[in-house]
Protein backbone atom coordinates (compact mmCIF):
# COMPACT_ATOMS: atom_id res chain seq x y z
CA UNK A 1 0.00 0.00 0.00
CA UNK A 2 1.25 3.45 -0.72
CA UNK A 3 0.23 6.99 0.06
CA UNK A 4 -1.15 7.77 -3.40
CA UNK A 5 -3.35 4.73 -3.32
CA UNK A 6 -4.81 5.49 0.10
CA UNK A 7 -5.36 9.19 -0.57
CA UNK A 8 -6.73 8.53 -4.06
CA UNK A 9 -9.06 5.78 -2.91
CA UNK A 10 -10.32 7.96 -0.04
CA UNK A 11 -11.07 10.98 -2.22
CA UNK A 12 -12.65 8.90 -4.99
CA UNK A 13 -14.84 6.90 -2.65
CA UNK A 14 -15.91 10.12 -0.93
CA UNK A 15 -17.27 11.42 -4.24
CA UNK A 16 -18.86 8.12 -5.19
CA UNK A 17 -20.43 7.92 -1.75
CA UNK A 18 -21.86 11.43 -2.11
CA UNK A 19 -23.36 10.45 -5.46
CA UNK A 20 -24.89 7.28 -4.02
CA UNK A 21 -26.26 8.97 -0.91
CA UNK A 22 -27.87 11.65 -3.08
CA UNK A 23 -30.30 9.03 -4.36
CA UNK A 24 -31.84 8.69 -0.89
CA UNK A 25 -30.90 11.86 0.92
CA UNK A 26 -29.77 15.41 0.23
CA UNK A 27 -29.88 18.27 2.76
CA UNK A 28 -32.47 20.05 0.61
CA UNK A 29 -34.41 19.17 -2.49
CA UNK A 30 -31.75 20.01 -5.06
CA UNK A 31 -34.15 21.71 -7.49
CA UNK A 32 -36.20 23.55 -4.84
CA UNK A 33 -36.18 27.31 -5.49
CA UNK A 34 -35.94 29.63 -2.51
CA UNK A 35 -35.47 33.11 -3.93
CA UNK A 36 -35.34 34.89 -0.53
CA UNK A 37 -32.31 32.78 0.42
CA UNK A 38 -30.46 33.40 -2.88
CA UNK A 39 -26.71 33.88 -3.22
CA UNK A 40 -25.87 33.07 0.38
CA UNK A 41 -22.21 32.27 1.02
CA UNK A 42 -21.46 29.00 2.82
CA UNK A 43 -23.08 29.00 6.28
CA UNK A 44 -24.52 26.67 8.90
CA UNK A 45 -27.82 26.11 7.07
CA UNK A 46 -26.33 25.85 3.59
CA UNK A 47 -22.85 24.33 3.94
CA UNK A 48 -21.86 25.32 0.43
CA UNK A 49 -24.18 28.37 0.21
CA UNK A 50 -27.01 28.93 -2.27
CA UNK A 51 -27.19 29.93 -5.92
CA UNK A 52 -29.08 32.78 -7.60
CA UNK A 53 -32.35 30.86 -7.27
CA UNK A 54 -31.65 30.07 -3.63
CA UNK A 55 -31.04 26.38 -4.41
CA UNK A 56 -28.81 24.55 -1.94
CA UNK A 57 -25.33 24.18 -3.49
CA UNK A 58 -24.40 21.18 -1.33
CA UNK A 59 -27.38 19.23 -2.60
CA UNK A 60 -26.67 20.25 -6.17
CA UNK A 61 -23.03 19.16 -5.87
CA UNK A 62 -24.15 15.77 -4.53
CA UNK A 63 -26.60 15.23 -7.36
CA UNK A 64 -24.12 16.66 -9.87
CA UNK A 65 -21.63 13.98 -8.84
CA UNK A 66 -24.14 11.46 -10.17
CA UNK A 67 -24.10 13.01 -13.62
CA UNK A 68 -20.32 13.27 -13.77
CA UNK A 69 -19.72 9.73 -12.59
CA UNK A 70 -22.41 8.22 -14.78
CA UNK A 71 -21.16 9.96 -17.92
CA UNK A 72 -17.48 9.17 -17.27
CA UNK A 73 -18.15 5.59 -16.22
CA UNK A 74 -20.29 4.72 -19.24
CA UNK A 75 -17.77 6.45 -21.49
CA UNK A 76 -14.97 4.28 -20.05
CA UNK A 77 -17.25 1.29 -20.53
CA UNK A 78 -17.68 2.17 -24.20
CA UNK A 79 -13.94 2.64 -24.56
CA UNK A 80 -13.14 -0.70 -22.92
CA UNK A 81 -16.01 -2.55 -24.56
CA UNK A 82 -15.00 -1.62 -28.08
CA UNK A 83 -11.33 -0.70 -27.69
CA UNK A 84 -10.05 -3.78 -25.90
CA UNK A 85 -11.50 -6.35 -28.35
CA UNK A 86 -10.23 -4.23 -31.24
CA UNK A 87 -6.78 -4.03 -29.70
CA UNK A 88 -6.67 -7.76 -28.95
CA UNK A 89 -7.81 -8.56 -32.50
CA UNK A 90 -5.29 -6.22 -34.07
CA UNK A 91 -2.49 -7.77 -32.02
CA UNK A 92 -3.65 -11.33 -32.74
CA UNK A 93 -3.67 -10.57 -36.48
CA UNK A 94 -0.61 -8.32 -36.33
CA UNK A 95 0.70 -7.27 -39.70
CA UNK A 96 -2.46 -8.28 -41.51
CA UNK A 97 -4.85 -6.00 -43.40
CA UNK A 98 -7.23 -6.23 -40.44
CA UNK A 99 -4.60 -4.85 -38.08
CA UNK A 100 -3.92 -2.09 -40.57
CA UNK A 101 -7.61 -1.20 -40.89
CA UNK A 102 -8.10 -1.14 -37.12
CA UNK A 103 -5.07 1.03 -36.55
CA UNK A 104 -5.90 3.44 -39.38
CA UNK A 105 -9.44 3.65 -38.00
CA UNK A 106 -7.96 4.48 -34.62
CA UNK A 107 -5.85 7.25 -36.10
CA UNK A 108 -8.93 8.65 -37.76
CA UNK A 109 -10.98 8.70 -34.56
CA UNK A 110 -8.02 10.28 -32.78
CA UNK A 111 -8.31 13.17 -35.22
CA UNK A 112 -11.73 14.01 -33.73
CA UNK A 113 -11.29 15.49 -30.24
CA UNK A 114 -14.27 14.61 -28.02
CA UNK A 115 -15.45 18.21 -28.15
CA UNK A 116 -15.60 18.04 -31.95
CA UNK A 117 -17.55 14.78 -31.80
CA UNK A 118 -19.92 16.40 -29.32
CA UNK A 119 -20.35 19.39 -31.62
CA UNK A 120 -21.20 17.11 -34.54
CA UNK A 121 -23.66 15.02 -32.57
CA UNK A 122 -25.32 18.03 -30.98
CA UNK A 123 -25.62 19.78 -34.31
CA UNK A 124 -27.48 16.79 -35.69
CA UNK A 125 -29.46 15.40 -32.76
CA UNK A 126 -29.64 18.30 -30.28
CA UNK A 127 -27.99 18.64 -26.87
CA UNK A 128 -28.11 16.17 -23.96
CA UNK A 129 -26.09 14.09 -21.52
CA UNK A 130 -26.22 11.13 -23.91
CA UNK A 131 -24.20 13.18 -26.40
CA UNK A 132 -21.49 13.70 -23.85
CA UNK A 133 -21.39 9.97 -23.11
CA UNK A 134 -21.16 9.06 -26.78
CA UNK A 135 -18.60 11.74 -27.58
CA UNK A 136 -16.30 10.84 -24.69
CA UNK A 137 -16.92 7.14 -25.24
CA UNK A 138 -15.94 7.30 -28.91
CA UNK A 139 -12.85 9.22 -27.95
CA UNK A 140 -11.94 6.47 -25.44
CA UNK A 141 -12.13 3.65 -27.98
CA UNK A 142 -8.81 4.29 -29.74
CA UNK A 143 -7.14 5.00 -26.39
CA UNK A 144 -7.95 1.51 -25.14
CA UNK A 145 -7.42 -0.11 -28.53
CA UNK A 146 -3.92 1.30 -28.82
CA UNK A 147 -2.80 0.52 -25.32
CA UNK A 148 -4.19 -3.02 -25.52
CA UNK A 149 -2.59 -3.66 -28.87
CA UNK A 150 0.75 -2.26 -27.73
CA UNK A 151 0.91 -4.41 -24.64
CA UNK A 152 -0.48 -7.46 -26.43
CA UNK A 153 2.07 -7.19 -29.24
CA UNK A 154 4.99 -7.57 -26.88
CA UNK A 155 3.23 -10.44 -25.14
CA UNK A 156 2.71 -12.26 -28.42
CA UNK A 157 6.48 -12.43 -28.82
CA UNK A 158 6.96 -13.93 -25.38
CA UNK A 159 7.87 -17.56 -25.18
CA UNK A 160 4.93 -18.60 -23.03
CA UNK A 161 2.63 -17.55 -25.84
CA UNK A 162 4.71 -19.52 -28.33
CA UNK A 163 4.44 -22.50 -25.99
CA UNK A 164 0.65 -22.09 -25.92
CA UNK A 165 0.61 -21.99 -29.72
CA UNK A 166 2.70 -25.15 -29.86
CA UNK A 167 0.04 -26.64 -27.58
CA UNK A 168 -2.43 -26.02 -30.36
CA UNK A 169 -4.33 -23.11 -28.88
CA UNK A 170 -5.87 -20.67 -31.34
CA UNK A 171 -5.48 -16.90 -31.42
CA UNK A 172 -8.86 -16.20 -29.82
CA UNK A 173 -8.27 -18.60 -26.97
CA UNK A 174 -4.74 -17.33 -26.35
CA UNK A 175 -6.01 -13.74 -26.37
CA UNK A 176 -8.56 -14.51 -23.68
CA UNK A 177 -6.56 -16.95 -21.61
CA UNK A 178 -3.05 -15.49 -21.73
CA UNK A 179 -3.09 -11.99 -23.20
CA UNK A 180 -6.10 -10.40 -21.51
CA UNK A 181 -5.16 -11.37 -17.92
CA UNK A 182 -1.67 -10.02 -18.51
CA UNK A 183 -2.89 -6.65 -19.79
CA UNK A 184 -5.66 -6.37 -17.19
CA UNK A 185 -3.56 -4.36 -14.73
CA UNK A 186 -2.64 -1.93 -17.43
CA UNK A 187 -6.28 -1.56 -18.42
CA UNK A 188 -7.38 -0.96 -14.85
CA UNK A 189 -4.84 1.82 -14.47
CA UNK A 190 -5.67 3.35 -17.85
CA UNK A 191 -9.35 3.02 -17.04
CA UNK A 192 -8.89 5.09 -13.91
CA UNK A 193 -7.07 7.76 -15.89
CA UNK A 194 -9.74 7.82 -18.61
CA UNK A 195 -12.38 8.01 -15.90
CA UNK A 196 -10.80 11.19 -14.54
CA UNK A 197 -10.39 12.61 -18.06
CA UNK A 198 -14.06 11.79 -18.64
CA UNK A 199 -15.06 13.82 -15.57
CA UNK A 200 -13.09 16.78 -16.93
CA UNK A 201 -14.49 16.39 -20.42
CA UNK A 202 -18.07 16.12 -19.15
CA UNK A 203 -17.63 19.30 -17.14
CA UNK A 204 -16.30 21.10 -20.20
CA UNK A 205 -19.12 19.89 -22.46
CA UNK A 206 -21.80 20.82 -19.92
CA UNK A 207 -20.15 24.18 -19.46
CA UNK A 208 -20.56 25.05 -23.15
CA UNK A 209 -24.04 23.57 -23.22
CA UNK A 210 -23.27 20.38 -25.13
CA UNK A 211 -23.75 18.09 -22.13
CA UNK A 212 -26.40 17.56 -19.50
CA UNK A 213 -29.31 19.99 -19.92
CA UNK A 214 -31.31 21.66 -17.16
CA UNK A 215 -32.88 20.61 -14.89
CA UNK A 216 -30.30 17.78 -14.60
CA UNK A 217 -27.69 19.29 -12.29
CA UNK A 218 -24.11 19.05 -13.44
CA UNK A 219 -20.92 20.66 -12.22
CA UNK A 220 -20.08 22.11 -15.62
CA UNK A 221 -23.50 23.77 -15.92
CA UNK A 222 -23.20 25.17 -12.41
CA UNK A 223 -19.95 26.82 -13.46
CA UNK A 224 -21.55 28.22 -16.59
CA UNK A 225 -24.37 29.69 -14.49
CA UNK A 226 -21.84 31.12 -12.03
CA UNK A 227 -19.89 32.98 -14.67
CA UNK A 228 -21.82 36.23 -14.65
CA UNK A 229 -21.94 36.29 -10.84
CA UNK A 230 -18.38 35.39 -10.04
CA UNK A 231 -17.49 38.94 -9.04
CA UNK A 232 -20.04 39.14 -6.22
CA UNK A 233 -20.63 35.46 -5.41
CA UNK A 234 -17.30 33.69 -5.99
CA UNK A 235 -18.44 30.60 -4.06
CA UNK A 236 -20.71 29.74 -6.99
CA UNK A 237 -17.61 29.16 -9.09
CA UNK A 238 -15.25 27.96 -6.38
CA UNK A 239 -17.36 25.11 -5.04
CA UNK A 240 -18.17 23.22 -8.26
CA UNK A 241 -14.54 23.81 -9.28
CA UNK A 242 -13.29 22.23 -6.08
CA UNK A 243 -15.68 19.33 -6.55
CA UNK A 244 -14.20 18.64 -9.99
CA UNK A 245 -10.64 19.03 -8.74
CA UNK A 246 -11.14 16.71 -5.77
CA UNK A 247 -12.73 14.04 -7.96
CA UNK A 248 -10.14 14.19 -10.72
CA UNK A 249 -7.25 14.45 -8.29
CA UNK A 250 -8.59 11.49 -6.34
CA UNK A 251 -8.94 9.36 -9.45
CA UNK A 252 -5.49 10.31 -10.74
CA UNK A 253 -3.88 9.49 -7.42
CA UNK A 254 -5.81 6.23 -7.37
CA UNK A 255 -4.53 5.45 -10.87
CA UNK A 256 -0.93 6.20 -9.94
CA UNK A 257 -1.25 4.27 -6.72
CA UNK A 258 -2.80 1.27 -8.48
CA UNK A 259 -0.03 1.32 -11.04
CA UNK A 260 2.69 1.25 -8.40
CA UNK A 261 0.83 -1.36 -6.43
CA UNK A 262 -0.13 -3.69 -9.29
CA UNK A 263 3.00 -3.46 -11.34
CA UNK A 264 5.67 -0.78 -11.25
CA UNK A 265 6.63 -1.46 -14.87
CA UNK A 266 3.30 -0.43 -16.38
CA UNK A 267 3.45 2.59 -18.63
CA UNK A 268 0.35 4.66 -19.00
CA UNK A 269 -0.44 6.91 -21.91
CA UNK A 270 -1.66 10.17 -20.53
CA UNK A 271 -2.84 12.89 -22.82
Amino acid sequence: MNRNLILGATLSSLVVLAALVSFVWTPYEHAALNIPAKLQPPNAQHWFGTDHFGRDMFSMIMVGARTSIAVALVAVGIGVGFGVPLGLTAAARRGSWLDEVIMRGNDLVFAFPSLVIAILITAVFGAGAINAIIAIGIFNIPVFARITRGAALSLWEREFILAARVSGKGAARISLEHILPNVANLLIVQGTIQFSLGILAEAGLSYVGLGAQPPTPSWGRMLADAQTMVSFAPHLALIPGFAIIVTVLGLNLLGDGLRDWLDPRIRVARA
Partner: protein, 342 residues
Protein backbone atom coordinates in the same frame (compact mmCIF):
# COMPACT_ATOMS: atom_id res chain seq x y z
CA UNK B 1 33.28 22.98 -27.37
CA UNK B 2 32.22 26.37 -26.17
CA UNK B 3 35.39 28.06 -27.37
CA UNK B 4 34.77 27.09 -31.00
CA UNK B 5 32.55 29.41 -33.00
CA UNK B 6 29.50 27.85 -34.59
CA UNK B 7 30.59 28.81 -38.09
CA UNK B 8 33.96 27.11 -37.97
CA UNK B 9 32.34 24.20 -36.27
CA UNK B 10 29.98 23.79 -39.18
CA UNK B 11 32.77 24.11 -41.70
CA UNK B 12 34.83 21.45 -40.02
CA UNK B 13 31.97 19.06 -39.66
CA UNK B 14 30.87 19.39 -43.24
CA UNK B 15 34.03 17.68 -44.44
CA UNK B 16 32.65 14.36 -43.33
CA UNK B 17 28.95 14.94 -43.26
CA UNK B 18 28.28 16.22 -46.77
CA UNK B 19 27.76 12.99 -48.71
CA UNK B 20 26.01 11.39 -45.80
CA UNK B 21 23.69 14.32 -45.24
CA UNK B 22 22.58 14.08 -48.86
CA UNK B 23 21.55 10.51 -48.13
CA UNK B 24 19.80 11.56 -44.95
CA UNK B 25 17.90 14.27 -46.80
CA UNK B 26 16.79 11.74 -49.40
CA UNK B 27 15.58 9.43 -46.66
CA UNK B 28 13.78 12.29 -44.97
CA UNK B 29 12.02 13.28 -48.19
CA UNK B 30 10.89 9.75 -48.85
CA UNK B 31 9.57 9.49 -45.33
CA UNK B 32 7.79 12.85 -45.66
CA UNK B 33 6.18 11.81 -48.94
CA UNK B 34 4.83 8.64 -47.38
CA UNK B 35 3.41 10.52 -44.43
CA UNK B 36 1.90 13.06 -46.82
CA UNK B 37 0.03 10.35 -48.71
CA UNK B 38 -1.34 8.93 -45.49
CA UNK B 39 -2.36 12.47 -44.49
CA UNK B 40 -4.35 12.85 -47.72
CA UNK B 41 -6.13 9.54 -47.15
CA UNK B 42 -7.00 10.47 -43.56
CA UNK B 43 -8.40 13.81 -44.68
CA UNK B 44 -10.48 12.19 -47.41
CA UNK B 45 -11.96 9.62 -45.04
CA UNK B 46 -12.57 12.26 -42.35
CA UNK B 47 -14.43 14.47 -44.82
CA UNK B 48 -16.69 11.57 -45.84
CA UNK B 49 -17.44 10.81 -42.17
CA UNK B 50 -18.26 14.42 -41.35
CA UNK B 51 -20.42 14.85 -44.42
CA UNK B 52 -22.27 11.62 -43.72
CA UNK B 53 -22.98 12.53 -40.09
CA UNK B 54 -24.29 15.96 -41.03
CA UNK B 55 -26.42 14.41 -43.78
CA UNK B 56 -28.22 12.30 -41.19
CA UNK B 57 -29.60 15.51 -39.71
CA UNK B 58 -33.34 15.61 -40.13
CA UNK B 59 -35.06 18.54 -41.79
CA UNK B 60 -34.50 20.76 -44.74
CA UNK B 61 -32.27 23.80 -44.18
CA UNK B 62 -34.24 25.83 -46.70
CA UNK B 63 -37.60 25.37 -44.96
CA UNK B 64 -35.89 25.92 -41.60
CA UNK B 65 -34.53 29.24 -42.85
CA UNK B 66 -37.72 30.46 -44.47
CA UNK B 67 -40.16 29.17 -41.86
CA UNK B 68 -43.07 26.81 -42.27
CA UNK B 69 -45.21 29.09 -44.38
CA UNK B 70 -42.73 29.52 -47.21
CA UNK B 71 -43.90 29.12 -50.79
CA UNK B 72 -42.70 26.02 -52.59
CA UNK B 73 -41.09 28.00 -55.42
CA UNK B 74 -39.21 30.27 -52.96
CA UNK B 75 -37.93 27.16 -51.22
CA UNK B 76 -36.80 25.64 -54.50
CA UNK B 77 -35.01 28.86 -55.40
CA UNK B 78 -33.24 28.91 -52.04
CA UNK B 79 -32.30 25.25 -52.34
CA UNK B 80 -30.76 25.98 -55.72
CA UNK B 81 -28.94 28.98 -54.27
CA UNK B 82 -27.56 26.83 -51.42
CA UNK B 83 -26.65 24.02 -53.78
CA UNK B 84 -29.07 21.61 -52.12
CA UNK B 85 -30.91 20.66 -55.32
CA UNK B 86 -28.43 18.04 -56.47
CA UNK B 87 -27.75 14.46 -55.37
CA UNK B 88 -25.90 13.80 -52.10
CA UNK B 89 -22.83 12.45 -53.85
CA UNK B 90 -22.75 15.52 -56.05
CA UNK B 91 -23.10 17.74 -53.01
CA UNK B 92 -20.23 15.98 -51.26
CA UNK B 93 -17.94 16.60 -54.19
CA UNK B 94 -19.13 20.18 -54.50
CA UNK B 95 -18.33 20.69 -50.82
CA UNK B 96 -14.89 19.07 -50.93
CA UNK B 97 -14.05 20.63 -54.29
CA UNK B 98 -15.08 24.02 -52.94
CA UNK B 99 -12.90 23.65 -49.86
CA UNK B 100 -9.89 22.79 -52.00
CA UNK B 101 -10.16 26.21 -53.67
CA UNK B 102 -11.13 28.02 -50.46
CA UNK B 103 -14.89 28.05 -51.17
CA UNK B 104 -16.77 26.81 -48.12
CA UNK B 105 -20.26 27.63 -49.37
CA UNK B 106 -22.78 30.14 -48.06
CA UNK B 107 -24.00 30.32 -44.50
CA UNK B 108 -27.65 29.33 -44.18
CA UNK B 109 -28.38 32.03 -41.63
CA UNK B 110 -26.10 34.92 -42.51
CA UNK B 111 -26.11 34.38 -46.29
CA UNK B 112 -22.43 35.31 -46.31
CA UNK B 113 -19.53 33.13 -47.50
CA UNK B 114 -18.56 30.64 -44.80
CA UNK B 115 -14.90 30.96 -45.77
CA UNK B 116 -14.88 34.62 -44.81
CA UNK B 117 -16.58 33.95 -41.48
CA UNK B 118 -14.13 31.19 -40.63
CA UNK B 119 -11.12 33.21 -41.70
CA UNK B 120 -12.12 36.08 -39.40
CA UNK B 121 -12.59 33.77 -36.43
CA UNK B 122 -9.45 31.77 -37.17
CA UNK B 123 -7.42 34.88 -36.50
CA UNK B 124 -8.48 34.59 -32.88
CA UNK B 125 -8.54 30.83 -32.29
CA UNK B 126 -5.32 29.87 -34.02
CA UNK B 127 -3.11 32.49 -32.34
CA UNK B 128 -4.71 31.54 -29.02
CA UNK B 129 -3.90 27.84 -29.45
CA UNK B 130 -0.35 28.56 -30.59
CA UNK B 131 0.19 31.06 -27.75
CA UNK B 132 -1.00 28.43 -25.27
CA UNK B 133 1.16 25.74 -26.85
CA UNK B 134 4.21 27.98 -26.59
CA UNK B 135 3.44 28.81 -22.97
CA UNK B 136 2.84 25.21 -21.95
CA UNK B 137 6.07 24.07 -23.61
CA UNK B 138 8.02 26.91 -22.01
CA UNK B 139 6.71 25.97 -18.58
CA UNK B 140 6.81 22.20 -18.98
CA UNK B 141 10.28 21.60 -20.40
CA UNK B 142 12.26 23.25 -17.62
CA UNK B 143 9.92 21.88 -14.96
CA UNK B 144 10.14 18.33 -16.31
CA UNK B 145 13.89 18.37 -16.78
CA UNK B 146 14.39 19.94 -13.34
CA UNK B 147 12.20 17.32 -11.68
CA UNK B 148 13.95 14.45 -13.47
CA UNK B 149 17.39 15.77 -12.57
CA UNK B 150 16.37 16.06 -8.92
CA UNK B 151 14.47 12.80 -8.77
CA UNK B 152 13.08 12.00 -5.35
CA UNK B 153 14.29 15.25 -3.80
CA UNK B 154 12.21 18.13 -2.51
CA UNK B 155 12.28 20.00 -5.84
CA UNK B 156 10.98 16.96 -7.70
CA UNK B 157 8.22 16.37 -5.17
CA UNK B 158 7.12 20.00 -5.36
CA UNK B 159 6.96 19.98 -9.16
CA UNK B 160 5.16 16.65 -9.19
CA UNK B 161 2.66 17.81 -6.60
CA UNK B 162 1.96 20.95 -8.60
CA UNK B 163 1.49 18.97 -11.82
CA UNK B 164 -0.81 16.52 -10.08
CA UNK B 165 -2.99 19.47 -9.17
CA UNK B 166 -2.61 21.04 -12.62
CA UNK B 167 -3.91 17.91 -14.32
CA UNK B 168 -7.00 17.87 -12.12
CA UNK B 169 -8.07 21.45 -12.80
CA UNK B 170 -10.49 22.16 -15.68
CA UNK B 171 -9.04 24.86 -17.92
CA UNK B 172 -12.26 26.89 -18.09
CA UNK B 173 -12.34 26.99 -14.29
CA UNK B 174 -8.77 28.28 -14.27
CA UNK B 175 -10.00 30.88 -16.74
CA UNK B 176 -12.78 31.96 -14.41
CA UNK B 177 -10.36 32.24 -11.50
CA UNK B 178 -7.91 34.23 -13.61
CA UNK B 179 -10.72 36.61 -14.55
CA UNK B 180 -11.71 36.91 -10.90
CA UNK B 181 -8.18 37.68 -9.77
CA UNK B 182 -6.48 39.55 -12.62
CA UNK B 183 -9.41 41.21 -14.34
CA UNK B 184 -11.99 41.88 -11.64
CA UNK B 185 -9.79 42.43 -8.61
CA UNK B 186 -6.43 43.57 -9.94
CA UNK B 187 -7.74 45.04 -13.20
CA UNK B 188 -4.58 44.15 -15.11
CA UNK B 189 -6.55 42.66 -17.96
CA UNK B 190 -10.00 43.00 -19.45
CA UNK B 191 -12.45 40.38 -18.26
CA UNK B 192 -13.26 39.48 -21.83
CA UNK B 193 -13.51 40.53 -25.42
CA UNK B 194 -10.82 40.79 -28.03
CA UNK B 195 -9.11 44.04 -28.92
CA UNK B 196 -8.36 42.85 -32.44
CA UNK B 197 -5.06 42.75 -34.28
CA UNK B 198 -5.78 46.11 -35.97
CA UNK B 199 -4.82 47.97 -32.80
CA UNK B 200 -1.36 46.45 -32.86
CA UNK B 201 0.18 43.09 -32.14
CA UNK B 202 0.78 43.68 -28.43
CA UNK B 203 -2.75 44.87 -27.77
CA UNK B 204 -4.09 41.75 -29.42
CA UNK B 205 -1.66 39.54 -27.55
CA UNK B 206 -2.55 41.22 -24.29
CA UNK B 207 -6.21 40.31 -24.64
CA UNK B 208 -5.28 36.70 -25.42
CA UNK B 209 -2.91 36.37 -22.45
CA UNK B 210 -5.35 35.26 -19.75
CA UNK B 211 -7.08 32.77 -22.06
CA UNK B 212 -3.73 31.39 -23.15
CA UNK B 213 -2.55 30.95 -19.56
CA UNK B 214 -5.79 29.19 -18.65
CA UNK B 215 -5.36 26.83 -21.59
CA UNK B 216 -1.66 26.31 -21.02
CA UNK B 217 -1.51 25.52 -17.30
CA UNK B 218 -3.26 22.11 -17.32
CA UNK B 219 -1.45 21.13 -20.53
CA UNK B 220 1.88 22.20 -19.06
CA UNK B 221 1.23 19.94 -16.08
CA UNK B 222 0.70 16.95 -18.36
CA UNK B 223 3.67 17.80 -20.54
CA UNK B 224 5.98 18.28 -17.56
CA UNK B 225 5.03 14.85 -16.23
CA UNK B 226 5.65 13.22 -19.60
CA UNK B 227 8.96 15.03 -19.95
CA UNK B 228 10.05 13.88 -16.51
CA UNK B 229 9.05 10.24 -16.87
CA UNK B 230 10.45 10.06 -20.37
CA UNK B 231 13.76 11.48 -19.16
CA UNK B 232 13.84 9.08 -16.23
CA UNK B 233 13.32 6.18 -18.64
CA UNK B 234 16.21 7.41 -20.73
CA UNK B 235 18.41 7.85 -17.67
CA UNK B 236 18.09 4.10 -17.11
CA UNK B 237 19.31 3.29 -20.63
CA UNK B 238 22.67 1.64 -21.24
CA UNK B 239 23.95 4.48 -23.39
CA UNK B 240 23.59 6.91 -20.50
CA UNK B 241 26.01 4.71 -18.55
CA UNK B 242 28.28 4.69 -21.59
CA UNK B 243 28.18 8.49 -21.59
CA UNK B 244 29.12 8.57 -17.92
CA UNK B 245 31.95 6.12 -18.57
CA UNK B 246 33.32 8.58 -21.15
CA UNK B 247 33.72 11.15 -18.41
CA UNK B 248 30.53 13.18 -18.81
CA UNK B 249 29.12 14.47 -15.56
CA UNK B 250 25.58 13.55 -14.62
CA UNK B 251 24.34 16.92 -15.87
CA UNK B 252 26.27 16.78 -19.15
CA UNK B 253 24.99 13.29 -19.84
CA UNK B 254 21.44 14.42 -19.13
CA UNK B 255 21.61 17.35 -21.55
CA UNK B 256 23.66 15.82 -24.33
CA UNK B 257 22.22 12.32 -24.45
CA UNK B 258 19.08 12.38 -22.35
CA UNK B 259 17.00 15.30 -23.53
CA UNK B 260 16.96 14.58 -27.26
CA UNK B 261 16.02 10.94 -26.74
CA UNK B 262 13.38 11.94 -24.22
CA UNK B 263 11.84 14.28 -26.78
CA UNK B 264 10.52 11.38 -28.85
CA UNK B 265 7.57 10.53 -26.56
CA UNK B 266 7.21 14.19 -25.61
CA UNK B 267 6.61 15.09 -29.25
CA UNK B 268 3.64 12.74 -29.40
CA UNK B 269 2.10 14.51 -26.47
CA UNK B 270 2.75 17.94 -27.97
CA UNK B 271 1.00 16.79 -31.13
CA UNK B 272 -1.95 15.48 -29.17
CA UNK B 273 -1.99 18.63 -27.08
CA UNK B 274 -2.45 20.84 -30.06
CA UNK B 275 -5.79 19.21 -30.79
CA UNK B 276 -6.74 19.51 -27.13
CA UNK B 277 -5.74 23.16 -27.15
CA UNK B 278 -7.75 23.87 -30.25
CA UNK B 279 -10.77 22.15 -28.75
CA UNK B 280 -10.02 23.76 -25.40
CA UNK B 281 -9.85 27.19 -26.99
CA UNK B 282 -13.43 26.71 -28.16
CA UNK B 283 -14.45 26.35 -24.51
CA UNK B 284 -12.17 29.09 -23.22
CA UNK B 285 -13.56 31.51 -25.82
CA UNK B 286 -16.88 31.18 -24.03
CA UNK B 287 -15.32 32.34 -20.76
CA UNK B 288 -13.68 35.40 -22.29
CA UNK B 289 -16.34 36.20 -24.92
CA UNK B 290 -13.73 35.91 -27.64
CA UNK B 291 -15.02 36.05 -31.23
CA UNK B 292 -13.33 32.80 -32.24
CA UNK B 293 -14.32 29.56 -33.91
CA UNK B 294 -16.03 28.44 -30.71
CA UNK B 295 -18.51 31.27 -30.72
CA UNK B 296 -19.11 30.75 -34.41
CA UNK B 297 -19.80 27.08 -34.07
CA UNK B 298 -22.11 27.43 -31.06
CA UNK B 299 -24.14 30.12 -32.79
CA UNK B 300 -24.28 27.90 -35.86
CA UNK B 301 -25.50 24.94 -33.81
CA UNK B 302 -28.34 26.90 -32.24
CA UNK B 303 -29.26 28.36 -35.64
CA UNK B 304 -28.94 24.90 -37.24
CA UNK B 305 -26.55 26.46 -39.72
CA UNK B 306 -25.14 23.02 -40.58
CA UNK B 307 -22.91 24.13 -43.42
CA UNK B 308 -20.96 26.27 -40.95
CA UNK B 309 -20.74 23.43 -38.41
CA UNK B 310 -19.62 21.05 -41.12
CA UNK B 311 -16.89 23.38 -42.32
CA UNK B 312 -15.60 24.31 -38.88
CA UNK B 313 -15.45 20.66 -37.83
CA UNK B 314 -13.61 19.79 -41.03
CA UNK B 315 -11.20 22.60 -40.38
CA UNK B 316 -10.51 21.42 -36.83
CA UNK B 317 -9.95 17.85 -38.01
CA UNK B 318 -7.72 19.14 -40.77
CA UNK B 319 -5.67 21.01 -38.16
CA UNK B 320 -5.33 17.93 -35.95
CA UNK B 321 -4.31 15.67 -38.82
CA UNK B 322 -1.86 18.23 -40.16
CA UNK B 323 -0.25 18.72 -36.78
CA UNK B 324 0.15 14.97 -36.42
CA UNK B 325 1.81 14.95 -39.83
CA UNK B 326 4.22 17.64 -38.64
CA UNK B 327 4.89 15.62 -35.48
CA UNK B 328 5.74 12.62 -37.65
CA UNK B 329 8.24 14.77 -39.52
CA UNK B 330 9.68 16.03 -36.25
CA UNK B 331 10.10 12.43 -35.12
CA UNK B 332 12.22 11.66 -38.12
CA UNK B 333 14.29 14.75 -37.50
CA UNK B 334 14.92 13.67 -33.92
CA UNK B 335 15.22 9.93 -34.46
CA UNK B 336 17.33 8.79 -37.42
CA UNK B 337 16.03 5.22 -37.02
CA UNK B 338 12.65 6.27 -38.37
CA UNK B 339 13.89 7.71 -41.63
CA UNK B 340 14.47 4.41 -43.39
CA UNK B 341 11.25 2.90 -42.15
CA UNK B 342 7.88 2.60 -43.82
Amino acid sequence: MSQVSPVSLLAERSCWTRSASARNVALMLRYALKRLISLMISLAVASVVIFAVIEVAPGDPASFMLGVNAQEDTLAALRAELGLDVSKVQRYFNWVGGMLVGEFGTSYTYRTPVAQMIADRLWVSLPLALYALALSTLIAFPAGIYAAARRGKAGDLTVMGATQLGIAVPNFWVAMMLVLIFAINLRWFNAGGFAGWDNGFWTGLHSLTLPAIALALPQAAILARVMRSSLLDILGEDFMRTARAKGLSRRQALWRHGVRNALIPVLTIIGLQFSFLLAGSIIIEQVFYLPGLGRLVFQAISARDLIVVESVVMLLVFAVITVNFLVDLAYAAVDPRLRGRT
